[in-house]
Structure formats: structure tokens, C-alpha cells
Symmetry: C2
Subunit: 356 residues, 2 copies
Amino acid sequence: MAGGRRGRVTLRDVAERAGVSVTTASFVLSGRHDMRISAATEERVLQAARMLDYRKRLVPGTAVPTGAPAIGLISDVVATEAFGGEMIRGCISAATERGHVVFLTDSEGVDELEESAVRALLARGVDRFVYATLGTIEYRVPEALAGQRLVQMNNVDPGGGVPAVLPDDHRAGREAAEALVAAGHTDGIWLVGEVSARSYAAGKRLAGIRAGLRAHGLRLAGHVRCGWWPGESRAALASLLAEGWRERERPTAVIAMNDRAAMGVYQAVAAAGVRVPDDLSVISFDNSDVARWLDPGLSSLALPYFDIGRRAVELLLDDAAEPRVHKLAMNLRSRGSVTAPSRIPSAGPGRFPGRR
Amino acid sequence: MAGGRRGRVTLRDVAERAGVSVTTASFVLSGRHDMRISAATEERVLQAARMLDYRKRLVPGTAVPTGAPAIGLISDVVATEAFGGEMIRGCISAATERGHVVFLTDSEGVDELEESAVRALLARGVDRFVYATLGTIEYRVPEALAGQRLVQMNNVDPGGGVPAVLPDDHRAGREAAEALVAAGHTDGIWLVGEVSARSYAAGKRLAGIRAGLRAHGLRLAGHVRCGWWPGESRAALASLLAEGWRERERPTAVIAMNDRAAMGVYQAVAAAGVRVPDDLSVISFDNSDVARWLDPGLSSLALPYFDIGRRAVELLLDDAAEPRVHKLAMNLRSRGSVTAPSRIPSAGPGRFPGRR
């Protein structure tokens, strides 16, 4: 992992770091899919590009100056949980460009730790803060931050008044529906994943999905209300498959509420001899690592975490920033999991992978 | 995610936060497997326990004092990549107990950013540091940290002289081999995952595996030299399966170098109609989220990241700490992926999932 060389980053730097040809790196970074590139190679190229992004943005020879101003990045569990790290990377990237360092603290959602961290940063002259949450939620920032220069990252104050940066989950829901309709799916589109009132993202995604289908005179054929973890969606789908969809519309496609729920769908249908995408198309949200790791690769609406982090810091350092919500698009990352519809076979009682 | 209540944490707090019964929470936390608990439920219980761990350790009403001393946690990509967050959680946990706050910075492995972060922390009176790397590596810490009170976390100075905390990968390798031998495997044990000179962990794991087998007069039947990502191990295994193991000893078990490589093994054998564990046992290292998500659950030697983080901070705050390497055990987390041996069928040319 240790540091790089001086100068600007070239495509060759990325290719060398990833251990692939310049052509391969170029194909991955330009998002072309007319060349067979393994998920692992894509993974290495994208990671190398992210890592080297810093050097590209560092003017040769000039690092952040000694005594540089610092930004306090206050988070619940973004650094300690697995999924939101790209938000931090985005913050560091933008802060570095503007000559700031970032001090990060995770409170694990414990009020006392959050307050201690804020006070400790204030005591050291830090006066600009990004407040980050792993989940996209409505959240009133803590007292200790009142009156400080602040941007909310992946969370929004229900009362407004603080600039906030969020992913556009509603639009992502619409695009998930559009992608399936464009592939020919009509009356066999199921949703997998519960929509709890506590999840801001879930509500927006569902509303977007319904709007997207409504625009074509369509509606969801069914909704599997299960948790967003592989074991939960796997067990729920296995039960439905075992029933052979008797009283239900058999699905031609599934929209999973996140990639991990989609992983459970893959497992349940595989255990029942149903093939993705031949028998069942699957599309999902987040574009986390799992989407690249699944076989076939999972088409997923990408959380723009890196850009969310960059935008949050840019707004923080731009004192003219309006206290409004900035929504960033979640773009579809197409892989092999969506194709033309074909009714999934009536399976009859099968294995219950989730019940092992 | 937002904060908790005063007072000590009870098993009921964990159960409530996880949304399970107190009995279920108790079974998960005590590691009992004589009750069927889904991977998702286990996931929720373990996460709730980790989150609430802080409250358990916070004496009611007393938070870290204003102007508390701070520890600088300098890392390459531990906060921004997905896998090492529990090290950070462990650092915060131990620091909180001892009245310290933790300021974290990720340098992405860019020397200038690392130096800037260290200088910025020094300029604010921070004089104790933990130097963390995501990969377990030999690493000489940067000049800027020379003379500072320092502990290396998941990395070690080849010259010694700095206290370091590492996972015991050699012992983990031995225990992986022992677990397969104990299940009855003898001459059909394959290793999956390249062993590069750059990876400290890989070399130790391989040496441990060989020592463990040697103790029983056994040796590896073969070694699939592929990358440690699902797509790479999937493609490599698919090729071998398609060859039908003609000139090779057919495997009864696979030791994967990490959980992601094991995921690719699951995918390749599933595509060839080979069942885990019935036809092939699989064991691996890390016990990352993926090990819980796979179907069947993957038996894996757990990286003790949380304890590594706690130990690093304890050593840092204990000025009497010797400058030696502290190795923490990687314990086997048994799931459903290992059973008695049965030769995998000679498959003949099959699908090449990795070549899609």
C-alpha cells in the first residue's frame, strides 16, 4: 500500500498498479463491455484508479502544508462498517485538493463518544465538520455541532437548515424499473426486501420503482418482505419457490433492495435449479463489492459514495453553499443479471437453503 | 445508529437491538450451534453486541472528558476499504475506556498525505500513534513518526524496535490443516490462492498448513495459484473441473487463502454440479462477512481485528510495553462447509463461469 512517485498519474500507472495491460485498464475505466474482463480484474483496475486518484490530484512536490486546517469528519460507523468507505475516500480526495487534512472519528452511534469527539476537535481548533451516517437517514445533528460550519453526508435534517448530500434513491428506483421494462419485463416483476419506515432509502427506492412501472401502466407483481441480508432473502425466496408460486404470479424478474439481498436470491434460485438470468432477471441497488463478486455479475444502481464525499467537502469549504439537499445520481452498473423475460419453472417443494 | 441509554448493557439490550429473543442472542454470543440460527440473525446479534460494547464499557454518566488526550490512528486504507474496520472499532473501544479520543486518517498509501496527517496531528499536540495497515505486512514506519510513542497494528518493522500487534497466521494455517485432518481428509487436500512474496500473511499461512499436515505425515495434494478474488479462483477452479482432474489427485477438500477466494470456489463447483460440503469440503481464512453470507456457511479462521485494535491501544498507553511482536490467535469459526471426505466426481468439460 505504501506511497507513490511524483508527477501526474497516467493510464499506465493504473495498469501497472493493477497488473493489467493498458488496453484492459482503458476498457474498464471507460466502462466498455465489448471485451471480456473478469470481475477480479475489473476490481483491481478500479481500486488502483481510486488509490492513484490522489496522486493525480496532488501537484508534484506540494503536499498539504504543515499546520494545514483540518476538517472533522464525525461518523457513526462509516469507518468501522464495511460499506461506506468510499465516502471517506471522497472527503479525503477533495480536502487534499483544497489543502485540508481530515480527522475522522466513529462514534458507533454512542452519543457520549460523538460529543467527546466533537469537543476534542473543537478544542484543537477544528471548526468545519462533515456529519456522516452509513445509512441514508433523516437525522438532527447533535447539539455540540450547533453553530459550527457543517455539511450532512448521507443524512438530512428533517427541519432543513443544513446543507446535505444524499444519493438520489427515488430516481434509482425509477431506473431499476425502467431497465427491466426495457428488457421486456411486464407483469412478473417482484420486489425483494422489506420497506421499513426507519429507512429513508427504502421508501424512496420503492416510490421510484412504482413511479417507473406506473409510467408504463405496470405494477409490482409481488413483494417479498424480508430483511436485506443474504440469509433472510434466501430463506424467504426458498419458501416461495417451494410453494411453486401456486397462488402467485410467477416472477420473470426480481428487484432486490440491496446487493446482499440479491445474493440471497441468487442462492435460493440456484438451489432450486433456477438460472440467473436465463430463468430470472435480477437487478439491485448499491453496486457494492458483492455485485462484482456474484456469478453472473449483478446489475446494480451504484451508490455514488466517492462523489458524495467529494461534494460534501466542497460544500463545506464553499461558505456560499446554500442549506439545501444535494442529490447525486445512482447510475446503473450493468452486468449479466438482466435479460429478456422467461417464466421461472414451477419448482415444487425444494431445498430450504436458508433453513440449514 | 444514534446513541444509546445510560447504564450497563444487558443481554436484553443486545437482543432488543438485534430484534431477536434473549435466548437467540445468548446462543449466538456463546457460540453454540445446537440451535438453528440463520446467518442474517447471527449477523445482527454480533453487530448489536459490537455496537453496544461501548456502552458496556462506559461507566454511567462519564464520557471522555473535554480536552481529553487524543491518539492518532494513521492508516493506509483501513477506514476506506471494506475489511479492516473492526481494528478501528477495537482501538476506539480501548481508547474510550482509558479516557482518550481517537483521530483517524487514511493516507491511501500516498506518502505526502501520510506525512501531512502526522504533522497536522503533532501540531495539535497529539503525541501517541497507532500505525495501521489493511494487509499484514513488514513495513518501516515513516520518518515523521520517528521518536513518537508508537505501536504498529497489523504490520511489523523488519528491524524490530517498535511494539507490533499481528494475527497469528502461522498457527491459523496449522489449525486449518488440523480441522480437515480431524474430519478425515488425508491425500486430497488442495490449496487455492497464490502465495506472493509481498504477502506476509500468505507465507505464514502456507508454512502453518504444511506444518499441520506434516505432523500427520501428510502433504498438500495440489496448489491452485490464482488471485484471492472470487472471479480469479472461480475461473481457475472451473478450468480444473473441466479437465476432470485427469493428471491430478482429485480433491476431497480445499483450503482457500481467504473467504473471497473460497466464494469463487463455491461458484465454480456449483456450476459443475459439485456440492459443498457433500462432495468437497472448504475451509478458509479471515471470517469476513462473506463467510457468513455463503450457502452453506463457510468455516473460516477468524482475523481477531477487534482484539488487535484493543491490544494496540493498550500497548500504546502502557509505556512499559516491550518493543516486541504480539501475535493474537485466529480462532476457527466452524460453519457448514467441512465434513468427511468424498472424492469429487470427475466432471468432464463443464461451464466456465469465470470466463463469461
